[in-house]
């Protein structure tokens, strides 16, 4: 039987990729953010998960407006990163786990989630950076990937409630998976930030704290708000909290144990956070 060991949650700001390439981890600007990762790494080293189910949002690498899915589930043998157009480093490829992907997809469609299935899929910095942060020494990724992309580009976005339900359906799939793998769940993006508009630079530490405080034991509290209300409180890209909410759902409905938290303003335009939740 598979085992869901827990999940980690982290911002995925593109600039982090640049800081890693330059080796800026100890620079005063970056250190408060990178210091959030040793506990995550130690936990992963101790647990050694075999598969990651990662909830993220594509930033215009794999999806365009011609076919913009609300929820997309990867079912590929391999996931490559490619040029995103802003001089980001090229990140390492991931091995897929198509059998688990299809098992999850069967559960989701059976539970009336109308997913888009992706048997060929590029993954962008939003997926790669959380692995770079968690496995800084890896020559190749030590675990397989099931990526799940949530639309945060084209309104209407799915509601937080729907994203939590998506995650919980993924959880049911993981619980019924007959493989022997250890599974880690990852949620990427956020926390509060806004890139576009006259409100660019907006962050909201109070709301971020509310989200972090709710995540382990009461994620429903974050789901009371409409997507637009979340944008109001969290910024137009703060809505990436949807990925965190779905990932939290994939840990199951039981309370999880928060074993680590880091929060720092700013990284680039973002209130950056890292959390570790273990299943109980």
């Amino acid at each position: 039987m598979a085992q869901i060991i827990g999940g980690y949650f982290t911002s995925h700001v593109p600039a982090i990729g640049g800081a890693i390439v330059r080796g800026d981890q100890e620079e005063p600007y970056w250190k408060p953010f990178f210091d959030g990762f040793p506990p995550v790494r130690e936990w992963l080293e101790a647990e050694r998960p075999d598969v990651a189910v990662c909830f993220y949002n594509d930033h215009g690498l794999n999806f365009f407006l011609d076919k913009m899915p609300t929820f997309a589930v990867g079912a590929a043998h391999e996931y490559r990163n490619e040029d995103e157009g802003w001089g980001l480093p090229l990140f390492k490829s991931f091995a897929g786990h198509p059998d688990l992907s299809w098992h999850i997809i069967e559960q989701l469609v059976g539970d009336e989630f109308d997913v888009t299935t992706c048997q060929s899929m590029l993954v962008d910095h939003a997926l790669s950076i959380p692995f770079e942060l968690a496995y800084p020494e890896a020559q190749e990724w030590p675990l397989k990937l099931v990526p799940i992309a949530i639309n945060t580009v084209q309104y209407p976005l799915p509601s937080a409630k729907r994203c939590l339900a998506l995650g919980r359906a993924v959880h049911r799939a993981l619980v019924s998976w007959q493989g022997a793998e250890k599974i880690v769940v990852i949620g990427t993006g956020g926390l509060s930030h806004q890139l576009d508009g006259e409100r660019a630079g907006f962050v909201n530490p109070d709301y971020d704290r509310f989200c972090m405080d709710s995540l382990a034991a009461n994620p429903e509290a974050i789901c009371v708000d409409s997507t637009k209300e979340i944008v109001r409180k969290s910024g137009s890209q703060g809505v990436e909290i949807l990925n965190w909410i779905a990932a939290r759902g994939a840990l199951g409905a039981a309370p999880a144990r928060e074993t680590h938290r880091n929060y720092h303003i700013p990284i680039s335009n973002t209130a950056a956070a890292t959390m570790l939740l273990e299943t109980t």
Binding site: G85, Y155, L195, V203, P205, I265
Partner: protein, 129 residues
């Protein structure tokens, strides 16, 4: 400029959010050509073609005059007004050597240093809490 006059939000989703432009169907329908052009900048060859002859490249994607003017002026707010989406516009900004902090400064009418200082100040304030 006052950032985020976050008075308690009125109930319901109809109230606008200060300085925030949701990329809904209306914006998307208006901005398709501009966003399609920006999406093409995932490929280095296309970025080079744009740099080599910016107007010709814009014409090839059928940008309207509002979009053409916004691109020529490197004016991000005008691009958004013309239907641009920040996820795609960021690829265009990258060609001009602008990162998200440059873009943030431009949109808020600050210098880049002021914009960065504003973010650092928010971090200090949050730390004081």
């Amino acid at each position: 400029m006052t950032l985020a006059p976050d008075t308690p939000p009125p109930p319901g989703d109809s109230a606008p959010i200060f300085g925030t432009h949701l990329f809904d169907g209306c914006a998307a329908a208006k901005g398709y050509a501009l966003n399609a052009m920006c999406f093409s900048f995932n490929e280095a060859a296309n970025r080079e073609a744009f740099l080599a002859d910016e107007d010709a490249y814009c014409q090839r994607y059928g940008l309207n005059s509002e979009q053409l003017d916004a691109v020529r002026a490197r004016n991000v707010l005008a691009m958004i007004e013309a239907g641009g989406n920040i996820y795609y516009l960021a690829k265009l900004a990258g060609i001009f050597g602008l990162n998200v902090q440059d873009v943030g400064a431009q949109q808020t009418g600050m210098s880049v240093d002021e914009f960065k200082a504003m973010l650092l100040a928010q971090g200090r304030k949050a730390g004081e809490d």
